[in-house]
């Protein structure tokens, strides 16, 4: 059982969350090509090791929580709010805010 540190509620059991997949994909601008949307919807990396994921706190604050988790060891490196940019362990670059397309 994972213990996830929700930035709003504190550390909670995995059972309160719903796994929602890859948090690194960014929804394309509405004007983007069909191909861009195809990639957004269907194509996923399946990394062995560190990965940034969505865990939806459905049994708590109902926030989409960003989690940097190791898919091999299940270790959690960092958790954050939906709009936060979380660095992977070992990356030296200062976390940069990802620019999101305005709609």
């Amino acid at each position: 059982m994972h213990r996830i540190d929700c930035p709003w509620c504190g550390t909670r059991d995995e059972a309160e969350f719903q796994y929602q997949g890859d948090a690194t994909v960014v929804r394309p601008d509405p004007d983007a090509s069909e191909e861009a949307f195809f990639r957004y919807v269907y194509l996923r990396e399946n990394p062995k090791g560190w990965h940034t994921e969505w865990w939806h706190h459905v049994g708590g604050c109902r926030q989409w929580v960003k989690v940097v988790r190791n898919t091999l060891t299940h270790e959690i490196f960092a958790t954050g709010r939906a709009q936060e940019d979380l660095p992977l362990p070992g990356t030296r670059a200062k976390p940069r805010r990802r620019t999101r397309p305005k709609q």
């Binding site: 059982m1 983007a32 949307f37 957004y40 919807v41 269907y42 459905v58 959690i76 999101r100 305005k102």
Partner: protein
């Protein structure tokens, strides 16, 4: 062998003043409180306790603990019958009933022991080899035979009358095991004030300590254990859980334990559970799990009377029982001398200590000084005797015969394997330590540390010191202060001579490695010979370590033998990974309270009692119970549905629609948000109006539909289908939190806060006008079609929506949940003069099928808006979720299956959902299928069976055509006519209703 083997004194765990009666295989015996079933049987001279899995060889107990592979019995009877219970941990209670397993007709004479004669064919992999041919024999013949002969006891066939609890706890430090190391850890951690939880599998603490011979802090160890327990019990921050097996070590230091609350009594007292399943969240863990002794691998080493040396000692010292009157001890390590001392102290004859090592160790010297015969460089060759050991033939290390010794018990020890099960569950690969002759834990992955025998420290002083240090380390790692610690408990330092690796004593007979699965040394050799040389392959091919004991006594020997066969060092062979549970856990414990009605919650609407009073038959819709139909006396299901749907169109009906998903949306950007979520436009919807909306998934397929109303400038109320309520909310939360955080929009589910009814039919307006006389004007002028109003009624806020699912003049009224019953009753009363009837989900469905409205059956996740005939709703003036991918080539292809209506054109028979539509009913297959039927009903308004279907090419190609709805399950293929799905009132004139 028979007669009493109870010693006249000794037995630290038994209470000789409390005799207990019990039965084994129908025979009556007596034992003492504190006995295990195994010790009580031994005390009565019963050494034969089971038959082996494959060869049905007679077996007695090998161990005295939870690692027992042989003495596996059925306990209790009837609904409480429990197979595969280890006699070595089953505590005796008055009236205990146990029977042996896997034998026929009796334990003494088991007809299948003839299997031994077939043993050349029953070697490793025999399933794969023997039962290969013919393939058609597998299920009807082979499987049945195998299942009967390789039985593991019978499960109870009646429901379990006992209850099981789930419980949770948190602690700073969890200590697993209450042996010397575990007690020392619990003491040092507990004294700091940290929250400590100590769990111990057995009923008594102390582990492998010898109560009288071992001394700690100058006291008998039994006294030290008692005082330590008393000190821990006195600390408020320490909890001790006995009879509790920690069986699972999961991610993030979440652990699971099974507390056997009432396994040691015949029946749990009233209101008490049989067992309790604990989920433990521990900041830090100390694993003091001890070690498992290994068997020496010599011929007939499975004969009753052959036991592990530590087990022999445990029976003598803990239970005052001797497993034999004349014992031979075979050992490769110093611990055998401990057993010798215990036996001599108890007055039992030790015929010989055969030490495999050639050097005379210190322990051997002192044993010789007390007059025991000790021989070095001597190995067991073969256990002699019938159903019990009567002697042992011994050999030199080179295999030459040495001598035969008469004995009725052989105490053997091939060394100790640190118990690395739990640490292995965390993903740590144990590493080989040659001086221990065992695998020890590697660097931790989780927040844990080991202490004592669990990491290969076998001397008492070392165990105490390590436990003490581990407890303090755990406290400081948890971020707590340790303060000034007391000195660790002390024991005399003893020099332990290294063990000698003996994995196979020379011989050609059956020498067992895995006793429970009947895996011999030869099988492992064979597995390697046949190419199954990887440890994981050899394990599965031979089934080594795959029995319910998970190979606690056998794995290391098996790995060592595989290494020998491969000609490689043991570390190169590696270990298999242990997985939870550490020892078997009953399904009942996992289920806990969640059985029967408590399997999942039942959700009832606010008006459930109203429906009940009117005789509703309820149907499960997810967790909800909804009125399905309201049969009158003598009325069948179909008749009731027909009557209800007919009556609604003639007078009026009331239907509980509380389960529809309701989401309240607030914020200045709510309209913009809806614009992006739904395919149609929302910017122009005025306050006080409702609109039908359809939403797509990002992949372009239809997700959900419902009406959404604008209650105020910045306040909307969305409704969703019952089934999708939670999914839609999550979808919207993703959109607002992840995709468009800049939008000012907030929402929350209001499904359980607001309940609702639909009132439909020509008399609906008159009924509501009467029910809400002074509260709201429901005239066509005041509340036009798709109008929405909020009003005060009977001291509460109510919402009325002029929307229609049935195609009739209809309203939906919502009130807070608490006012639901009052609202239903008010409308019901007002409707008595207007022919108001209640209608259920079935009639609701009939009415919507007649109108061609889509519902769950049509929203199957594979349809586009255009497939449902709603393609024109897709706005081209704004972007929305799913827009881009809905335009893909395949999504707009002409030959897609589209929504159509069907009419049964035959006078008899019926339509069925799931039928496939074909042109030629004699050529119906997956290729000729043109589509499928989604919803059907016997329609009063149309006068025949009608249905909705998805049909390739849709109305454009097939309007008016005659097709067949083939249903191979019922062997039916009625003829149908393809028509528009809008069967009834296609212009929607009835929605306006008669103006009054």
């Amino acid at each position: 062998m028979s007669g009493s083997n109870r010693l006249s004194k000794g037995g630290s765990r038994i209470d000789r003043t409390r005799p207990l009666r019990f039965r084994f295989d129908g025979r009556s015996f007596s034992g003492f409180a504190g006995d295990t079933l195994a010790s009580a049987l031994l005390a009565n001279g019963v050494t034969l306790m089971g038959r082996s899995f494959k060869y049905h060889r007679p077996r007695g107990c090998l161990t005295a603990g939870s690692e027992e592979p042989n003495a596996i019995v059925e306990m209790r009877s009837g609904a409480r019958r429990e197979p595969n219970t280890r006699a070595t941990i089953a505590e005796l209670y008055d009236g205990l009933e146990a029977t042996s397993q896997n034998r026929f007709p009796s334990l003494k004479f088991d007809i299948q022991s003839l299997n031994q004669l077939l043993s050349p064919f029953l070697t490793a992999g025999f399933y794969y080899k023997t039962f290969m041919w013919p393939a058609s024999f597998w299920e009807p013949v082979y499987e049945k035979i195998i299942r009967r002969s390789a039985g593991l006891g019978r499960a109870a066939t009646e429901p379990d009358p006992d209850t099981y609890e789930h419980a949770n706890t948190h602690c700073d430090v969890l200590v697993v095991g209450a042996g010397p190391a575990g007690l020392a850890a619990a003491l040092s951690a507990g004294r700091t004030g940290a929250r400590v939880l100590l769990v111990e599998e057995q009923a008594a603490a102390g582990g492998m300590l010898s109560p009288d011979r071992d001394m700690i802090d100058g006291k008998r160890s039994a006294d030290w254990v008692e005082q330590s327990q008393a000190e821990l019990n006195a600390l408020d921050n320490v909890t001790i859980m006995m009879r509790t097996t920690l069986f699972g070590y999961y991610d993030h230091n979440v652990l699971a334990a099974l507390e056997r609350v009432n396994d040691h009594v015949a029946e749990p007292p009233a209101h008490q559970p049989r067992q309790r399943l604990w989920t433990i969240r521990a900041s830090e863990v100390v694993l003091a799990c001890g070690s498992h002794e290994r068997a020496l691998t010599f011929d007939n080493n499975d004969k009753p009377g052959v036991m592990l040396s530590g087990a022999v000692r445990a029976f003598v010292e803990r239970y005052g029982v001797t497993p034999g009157k004349r014992v031979v001890i075979c050992t490769n390590n110093d611990d055998g001398y401990n057993t010798a001392e215990a036996l001599i102290n108890a007055g039992i004859e030790v015929a010989l200590i055969a030490d495999a090592r050639t050097d005379l160790c210190i322990a051997a010297q002192s044993a010789r000084e007390t007059g025991i015969r000790v021989e070095t460089g001597l190995l067991p060759q073969k256990a002699l005797g019938g159903q019990n050991v009567s002697g042992l033939s011994l050999q030199r290390a080179d295999g030459s015969f040495s001598e035969k010794v008469d004995c009725d018990c052989i105490a053997m020890s091939a060394g100790f394997s640190p118990d690395v099960h739990l640490v292995s569950q965390t993903g740590v690969a144990p590493v080989w330590r040659e001086n221990v002759l065992g695998f020890v834990p590697d660097k931790p992955i989780r927040r844990e540390r080991s202490a004592g025998a669990g990491q290969g420290t076998f001397d008492l002083a070392g165990c105490l010191a390590e436990g003490h240090a581990a407890g303090l380390d755990a406290v400081s790692s948890a971020g707590l202060k340790t303060g000034r610690a007391k000195a660790p408990p002390k024991a005399k330092a003893v020099e332990i001579a290294p063990p000698l690796a003996i994995w196979r004593c020379p011989g050609n007979g059956k020498a067992f490695v895995d006793f429970q699965n009947d895996v011999t040394a030869r099988d492992i050799h064979l597995a390697n010979q046949e190419g199954f040389s990887s440890v994981e392959h050899a394990k599965r091919y031979t089934t080594l370590g795959m029995a319910t004991d998970q190979g606690k006594t056998s794995n290391v020997t098996g790995i060592a033998l595989l290494a020998t066969a491969r000609g490689e060092p043991i570390p190169d062979v590696g270990t298999t990974r242990f997985r939870p549970p550490y020892s078997p856990v009953a399904i009942g414990a996992f289920a806990g309270h969640e059985r029967g009605k408590e399997f999942q919650p039942v959700r009832r609407t606010a008006m459930h009692a109203c429906g009940e009073k009117l005789g509703a038959v309820f149907v499960e819709a997810g967790q909800w119970l909804r009125p399905q139909y309201y049969p009158k006396s003598g009325e069948g299901v179909m008749e009731a549905i027909y009557r209800e749907s007919k009556q609604v169109r003639e007078t009026a009906g009331i239907c509980d629609v509380s389960t529809l998903g309701k989401i309240e949306i607030f914020g200045d950007d709510s309209g913009e948000f809806l614009n992006r979520i739904y395919i149609n436009g929302w910017k122009l919807l005025a306050p006080g109006k409702a609109r039908y909306g359809l939403m797509l998934r990002e992949d372009g397929y239809v997700f959900d539909d419902g009406t959404t109303s604008r209650l105020a400038d910045d306040h909307y109320l969305m409704t969703t289908t019952t089934a999708n309520a939670a999914r839609v909310l999550a979808h919207m939360e993703h959109a607002s939190q992840v995709l468009w955080p800049d939008l000012d929009v907030h929402f929350c589910s209001a499904t359980e806060q607001w309940c609702g009814v639909a009132v439909a039919g020509p008399n609906a307006r008159a009924i509501l006008a009467k029910a809400f006389a002074d509260a709201i004007d429901v005239s066509d002028e005041a509340l036009p079609f798709m109008g929405v109003r909020t009003f005060e009624w009977s001291g509460t806020t109510a919402r009325i929506f002029r929307i229609s699912f049935s195609g009739e003049l209809a309203f939906e009224v919502n009130v807070p949940w608490s006012a639901g019953e009052g609202m239903w009753n008010a409308i019901w009363e007002a409707g008595q003069d207007h022919g108001l009837i209640p209608y259920g989900t079935e009639a609701l469905s009939v009415l919507r099928i007649e109108k061609g409205h889509v519902a769950g059956n049509e929203l199957d996740g594979r349809t586009t808006a255009a497939d449902m005939g709603l393609g024109k709703m897709m706005s081209t003036k704004k972007p929305f979720i799913g827009q881009k991918l809905a335009g893909r080539e395949g999504m707009v292809a002409k030959d897609r299956a589209k929504l159509v209506g069907l009419k049964l054109t035959e006078d008899s028979g019926r339509l069925r959902g799931g039928a496939h539509l074909v042109i030629d009913k004699d050529n119906a297959n997956a290729e000729t299928s043109l589509g499928w039927v989604t919803s059907v009903c016997d329609s009063p308004a149309i006068g025949c069976w009608i249905g909705l279907a998805y049909l390739r090419g849709g109305l454009e190609e097939h309007d008016g055509k005659r097709l067949f709805a083939v249903n191979p399950i019922y062997d039916e293929a009625p003829a149908v006519e393809v028509v528009s799905p809008h069967f009834f009132d296609p212009q929607g004139e009835r929605l306006k209703g008669p103006v009054r």
